[in-house]
Symmetry: C2
Subunit: 337 residues, 2 copies
């Protein structure tokens, strides 16, 4: 049984904890938090041993009436692997802590790629992370792009990929973010940094990306234009993507017109927190003409990396190969809506 | 002096009326409206002779205390040219009225292209409209794309243009439109109808477009990817676009990061209604690599077609050639911020 410590219990950390708990070969050893707030209370209520990270100290948690097991140092020392789910940039500062305890660690996509030896997407390059000590699970957008590109790359070859990423301004709980009533090129300089991030997974891929931010919180939406080396039919590409476990081919005619309807659908399906781990590719949008593929996909920024973190844990701990790990993750989480 | 009747006094009609009034060679003969509402009162307050269109009848206007000159039939009969600025689809129904009176007419881009002999953009194909009886001024998005493509097409040749149009959900006064907190592929099927509309101006251009709708009201933002036949430098393309009177090259470093800031800038500059007639191309976004140009541009959906309507009037009435007309329009409106 792999003992997993989770450092950071925010948007990603709490979801990874819940996903790890569902696995037959892993257990949540504990979660570490900096502040004794309502999220810390949720962690205790969920039954996770709580460790204290950062400045607050154990005393502050005890004053707040929140029981703790120890410090983040204790958690790292006691865990087989740590998932670092702290805010972007903090993971890099934490790496020496993991090194001190000889504890392998996963980092998240907001870290610079140099934080780890390998940038990881289960569908695209699981094998590269097997037995590695430090692995970075790529960001929500890069995960979404990698999952889509992997089968296209393998089946037809990709001459070039061009993507406009219409990004949500913030998550639903991030009330202090914007924009309001605006459409912001972000970053305004082109191509954006998202393309090079995809190249940490597909080093030889020609990919250019453009990013914008809009007043929405539910999902990102990607507009993709991909020149394939082959010239398949629209139906062949649709069938290829339909076969992917982590791609949900949004059917026509059911009114699943956008992120709002998709999230409602996921909530009705009983998904935890209404999460959608899969890429949502609108079937109707898939169009191939002279080897040029266009499509729209929705990416649930809060959750699509969650199954990837679970798989990365198995790769680092050498518990399973890609196929076996993804099958277990998919089955335990209930992938497929 | 060209007597111009304006049928419809909404977003476009009222702006075209104000622009026509500024021209040395035209006068507003009158404007026609269907309802005796606050907009009708504004038209009278602005000094425009008011004519009654549609169902309400002269009596309703008189009951509301709004003085009218006659019916839309009278206006069409008395005018040299009519600008039809009625809602999409109504223009087509109005065409027999203009034919009955032998009055040439302009239609707007929400009409099907078949409503007129020529689809018009001043920069791209002014000459084709000279002396024509019925001309359609293309939509805000198509106007924005045509203005950008014309100099590229002439100077380098365009192998293919691919565009994602991140569209505002509605204008600021359209409170009943959406989306709220969503990012909607619209239309979800690809490529969208916007590309074929650009082909009404550039028949031989390979252009594919993808459209989305987001919760914003101020401007559309286009993400463009254009394969040129030549291979200019980034600076050469920037200089080329800077030379275009109806392109505003948004400078770096002034905080003009998006439509909100651009509109504020236009209001501070004293623009009527805060309008921005020009394409707003972010200079920093322009990037050319191996003949492939990427950039972002903002399009003010309420006003970019206004100077085009003025020029189309001159073309139809054979008052001037393209260069002379555009120069007069630009100078009288105060183009260039």
């Amino acid at each position: 049984m792999l003992h997993v410590g989770i450092n950071g219990y925010g948007t990603i950390g709490k979801r990874v904890a819940d996903a790890v708990r569902e696995q037959p070969d892993m257990t949540v050893h504990g979660v570490a938090k900096t502040s004794p707030d309502h999220v810390a209370e949720s962690a205790v209520a969920a039954g996770y041993p709580l460790y204290v990270a950062g400045g607050s100290g154990v005393g502050e948690f005890e004053t707040a009436g929140i029981a703790v097991e120890g410090t983040v140092d204790d958690m790292v020392a006691e865990s087989d692997v740590v998932v670092d789910a702290t805010p972007g940039g903090v993971g890099e500062q934490n790496r020496p802590l993991y090194e001190d305890h000889d504890t392998p660690a996963l980092f998240q996509g907001a870290e610079d790629a140099s934080v780890a030896e390998t940038s990881f997407n289960a569908r695209a390059n699981y094998a590269e992370a097997i037995g590695e000590e430090y692995v970075r699970v790529v960001s929500c957008n890069t995960t979404g792009l990698s999952r889509l590109l992997a089968p296209l790359y393998e089946t037809y070859g990709v001459e070039r990929a061009r993507a406009t990423l219409v990004r949500r301004g913030g998550d639903p709980d991030q009330y202090c973010r914007g924009p309001i009533n605006d459409i912001l090129p972000d970053p305004v300089s082109l191509p954006s940094h998202h393309g090079p991030d995809v190249q940490t997974v597909f080093p030889d891929l020609s990919i250019h990306t453009a990013g914008l931010k809009v007043p929405a919180t539910l999902m990102h939406v990607h507009s993709l234009n991909i020149s394939l080396q082959g010239d398949p039919t629209t139906e062949a590409v649709r069938d290829l993507l339909a076969d992917e476990d982590r791609i949900f081919l949004v059917p026509e005619g059911l009114g699943l017109d956008g992120p709002g309807a998709l999230k409602e659908f996921a909530r009705d399906a009983g998904r935890p927190r209404g999460d959608i781990w899969e890429n949502c590719v609108w079937a109707e949008s898939i169009h191939v003409e002279d080897g040029e593929l266009s499509l729209f996909q929705g990416i649930h920024q809060e959750s699509d990396v969650v199954p990837e973190n679970v798989d990365a844990l198995r790769a680092v701990a050498e518990l399973a190969d890609a196929e076996e790990s993804m099958a277990t993750t998919n089955e335990t989480l209930g992938m497929g809506i």
